[in-house]
């Protein structure tokens, strides 16, 4: 080897290392970390074990959308996991991968070594970002496969009602569940980009590592409050739950598309900011340990500006105002869900078949009595559903207490009559079965306009 040195011709400035090689190098470093391996293993096993075990229980996580269906359909488990992912789990995963991918070099003191080897900060940035993206997507894929495997192997592919009560068969569920998981990719990318930004800007500081979770906590706080709907849907956090709109017919796709666009905008801006800060960094400064307070101006202020701009754009283009939760929308949603589930209950009870159209179901809702205006979230909504059966002159009435959350999801809790929605089970010819009209989940389209 040394013999080659003497005869080696004088080389001119060498080309930087190819991005593909640099990417492989970064990927090897990432997957060699025990932390990443353990998280991947957890993503591969935990959802399967959870859905398989819960699907055999009678006590179900009814607080989660589709939780009450976990012991009746193998699809429900994956949807529960999908919904939980959108809380803080995915931002946390992005912390572990993207949030550390640059900071690890600061911790190990390997920046100069890497620069000398690769000779291009741009290529290092691209490679690191791509490696982090690859691992993050692998974690998502593991979660999807695991959650589906656990539920489907334990229970099978039984049909299940959508969030408007319409029955979804196995084919529709396959498509919709996969699409649902696909919809959380863009917001995951957005938080990954925030992770890159924190990792680049704050070096070894734990704040850099936790940046996606910190931003997610702030946005989650916004989501919990009855803020204007334009602000709510203009954050990447809301994009985690827009898959719910796929489970109604017709789909509530407005929030979904906005969530996609907002997430991509956050991804682009945060990645650009991280890139700009990275290529401007002085790697000879041995004392460098993150930007400190300057990050507020160079990192967080542009993201806050983006949130403000997207909020205004959404407000102007959709005309949406207020909380988006209004009495007419709630009444229409409840009546539709009731109709679908009544038909399901009729089939379970082996009664004479009836269609949703024949029922002519309507709902009347009121929030907390006459002194309170009928809009906004709250557990104080009380509704009466009225319907008629073909050939009958009398109308049926069913009472529901509704707990409506600020994101448009509601839980309808049947309050009688006992024969319709007052008891959690119904006696079918095949034995006792869960009563689909007793409690069910629904979702209000926050962006829909009322006439």
């Amino acid at each position: 080897m040394t013999a080659a040195i003497v005869d080696a011709p004088v080389r001119t400035q060498p080309q930087p290392v190819a991005v593909s090689r640099c990417y492989t190098f970064e990927l090897v470093k990432l997957v060699s970390q025990w932390r990443v391996r353990l998280v991947f293993l957890a993503c591969l096993l935990a959802p399967a074990i959870y859905t398989a075990v819960i699907s055999q229980q009678t006590s179900l996580p009814a607080d989660a959308v589709y939780g009450r269906w976990m012991n009746q359909s193998g699809w429900a488990g994956s949807l529960v996991i999908l919904d939980v992912m959108g809380t803080l789990v995915l931002p946390l995963l992005t912390c572990l991968v993207a949030g550390d991918v640059f900071a690890v070099e600061d911790r190990l003191g390997t920046w100069r070594h890497l620069m000398v080897a690769v000779r291009s900060p741009r290529r290092i940035f691209v490679s690191k970002a791509m490696a982090a993206l690859t691992v993050t997507l692998a974690l998502l894929a593991a979660l999807l496969v695991s959650s589906l495997a656990g539920g489907l192997l334990a229970l099978g592919t039984q049909p299940m009602p959508g969030l408007d009560g319409h029955i979804m068969d196995s084919g529709e569920l396959t498509r919709t569940v996969l699409l649902g998981w696909l919809t959380i990719v863009p917001p995951t990318l957005a938080f990954s980009a925030v992770g890159l930004l924190g990792s680049v800007a704050l070096g070894r500081s734990p704040l850099g590592l936790l940046m996606p979770v910190i931003i997610a906590l702030i946005l989650e706080g916004v989501q919990l409050m009855p803020v204007p709907v334009a602000l709510r849907v203009a954050t990447p956090m809301n994009a985690f739950i827009t898959h719910r709109g796929l489970f109604t017919a017709p789909g509530q796709l407005g929030s979904l598309w906005i969530g996609l666009a907002v997430s991509l905008a956050w991804t682009a801006l945060a990645t650009y900011l991280a890139y700009r800060l990275f290529v401007r960094r002085d790697f000879t400064d041995l004392a460098y340990d993150g930007m400190g307070r300057r990050f507020l101006v160079a990192g967080l202020a542009p993201l806050a500006g983006l949130a403000a701009v997207t909020t205004v754009v959404v407000a102007v283009t959709t005309g949406a105002n207020g909380t988006g939760i209004e009495r007419p929308k709630l009444e229409a949603s409840l009546a539709t869900s009731f109709s679908h589930l009544y038909v399901l209950q009729t089939e379970q009870l082996n009664r004479q078949a009836v269609t949703e159209e024949q029922l002519h179901a309507t709902a009347k809702c009121d929030k907390a009595g006459e002194r309170v205006e009928d809009h906004g979230p709250g557990a104080d909504w009380r509704c009466v559903v009225t319907w008629t059966l073909p050939g009958a002159t009398a109308t049926g009435n069913a009472i529901y207490q509704l707990d409506v959350t600020a994101d448009g999801r509601y839980v309808a809790d049947g309050d009688g009559p006992k024969e319709v929605n007052g008891f959690f089970q119904v006696a079918t010819p095949l034995g006792d079965r869960p009563n689909p009209l007793w409690q069910f989940d629904g979702v209000v389209d926050l962006l829909a306009t009322t006439k």
Binding site: M1, T2, A3, A4, I5, V6, A8, V10, R11, T12, Q13, P14, P16, V17, R21, C22, T24, F25, V28, K29, S32, Q33, W34, L108, G109, T110, R112, H113, L114, M115, V116, A117, V118, R119, S120, P121, F283, T284, D285, L286, A287
Partner: protein
């Protein structure tokens, strides 16, 4: 014929804010030479080494490396490798994986033979499959050297490569560097240990507060030390003192203590070598046996202290390492 220059620097300046890291540095490194860079902390060694690796550019002056002018970050020509500020290894990977990853980064797949050969050269074959997390500092240094050698360097830049090395490891590293120089490669290394530099380097450059205060052969540096203090242990300390008093140009230095078992019998004198020779002759003539005679501070260290002013108020002792702990008047920050 004059050997070609691996590095040619003229009037290099570099500042970090108000701090002047390099102030008009000239440097000529011929090919096939091992060149030492020495100086107290904050002298600008790491900054200069970083420039040679392309990690920084000078604010002023000109720099040519392997015949190519260098004016931008990371624009040094191929064949320049090395490390500053530690060897830069990934603790989750094994020694072999660290090198293999670098091989694939630089040249794609294959060349595992190079990896094994290099691990053997730096004496890490037995631990090639072990995670670097458990490596000692010396083992990391050797692996870092192996990583630098992967690039088939024509100019190898090493920042404190002897840190943490045991005597066997040091010998191994010295052999690797000597082989490289004999094959025509150039090595620039920094060290705080003058004995390492004396054993390994052809020439040294001594930096102090960003300026070159000496550059040339190691043996010439020793002559820059001025008058040295010598510790003399005899069978008759009082007789030796009396004789020393009678010799023109020779003075006794009081109050110095050493670790010698003959400390009570020792005399420390300062003066030129001819005067010392005269003292030895008179001691022999007076029938006083000489048990020990040597400089209190080795000549290279004395030169370092004299040229940098680092030892003005201190006497580090015969085995002292020139480090911040032993020279508290030095700047503590590294640039």
């Amino acid at each position: 014929m004059q050997p070609a220059a691996a590095v040619r620097a003229r009037g290099i300046t570099k500042t970090f804010g108000d701090v002047i890291a390099l102030d008009g540095v000239d440097l000529d490194l011929p090919e096939g030479q091992i060149h030492g860079l020495v100086g107290p902390n904050g002298a600008g060694k790491t900054t200069l080494l970083g420039m040679l690796l392309g990690l920084a550019v000078a604010d002023g002056g000109s720099l040519e490396i392997l015949g190519s002018p260098v004016g931008r970050i990371l624009s040094v020509p191929g064949g320049v490798t090395g490390f500053v500020d530690g060897p830069g290894l990934y603790p989750e990977l094994t020694a072999r994986q660290n090198l293999a990853a670098l091989v694939s980064l630089r040249s794609g797949a294959g060349r595992s033979a190079d990896v094994d050969e290099l691990l053997d050269r730096v004496g890490l074959t037995e631990v090639a499959g072990d995670s670097v997390r458990g490596f000692s500092l010396g083992m990391r240094q050797r692996l870092g050297l192996a990583a630098a050698l992967l690039g088939e360097p024509r100019l190898l830049v090493l920042d404190e490569p002897a840190n943490g090395l045991d005597p066997a490891g040091k010998r191994q590293v010295h052999q690797v560097l000597t082989d490289l120089a004999e094959a025509g490669g150039t090595v620039v290394l920094s060290s705080h240990r003058m004995d390492d530099l004396a054993a390994l380097c052809d020439d040294v450059t001594l930096l102090s507060t960003g300026r070159v205060v000496f550059s040339g052969p190691v043996h010439k540096l020793a002559t820059e030390s001025g008058e040295l203090d010598y510790r003399l242990v005899t069978t008759d300390a009082d007789g030796a003192r009396r004789l020393a008093d009678d010799i023109p140009g020779l003075s006794q230095v009081a109050g110095r203590k050493s670790q010698s078992q003959y400390d009570d019998q020792s005399v420390v004198v300062r003066g030129p070598e001819p005067a010392l020779d005269d003292l030895v002759a008179r001691l022999v003539g007076a029938g006083i046996a000489i048990r020990e005679l040597g400089p209190v501070v080795p000549p290279l260290e004395a030169a370092f202290l004299a040229l940098t002013g680092a030892g003005a108020d201190t006497d580090p002792g015969p085995d002292a390492d020139i480090s911040p702990a032993s020279t508290p008047d030095l700047q503590e920050t590294s640039r």
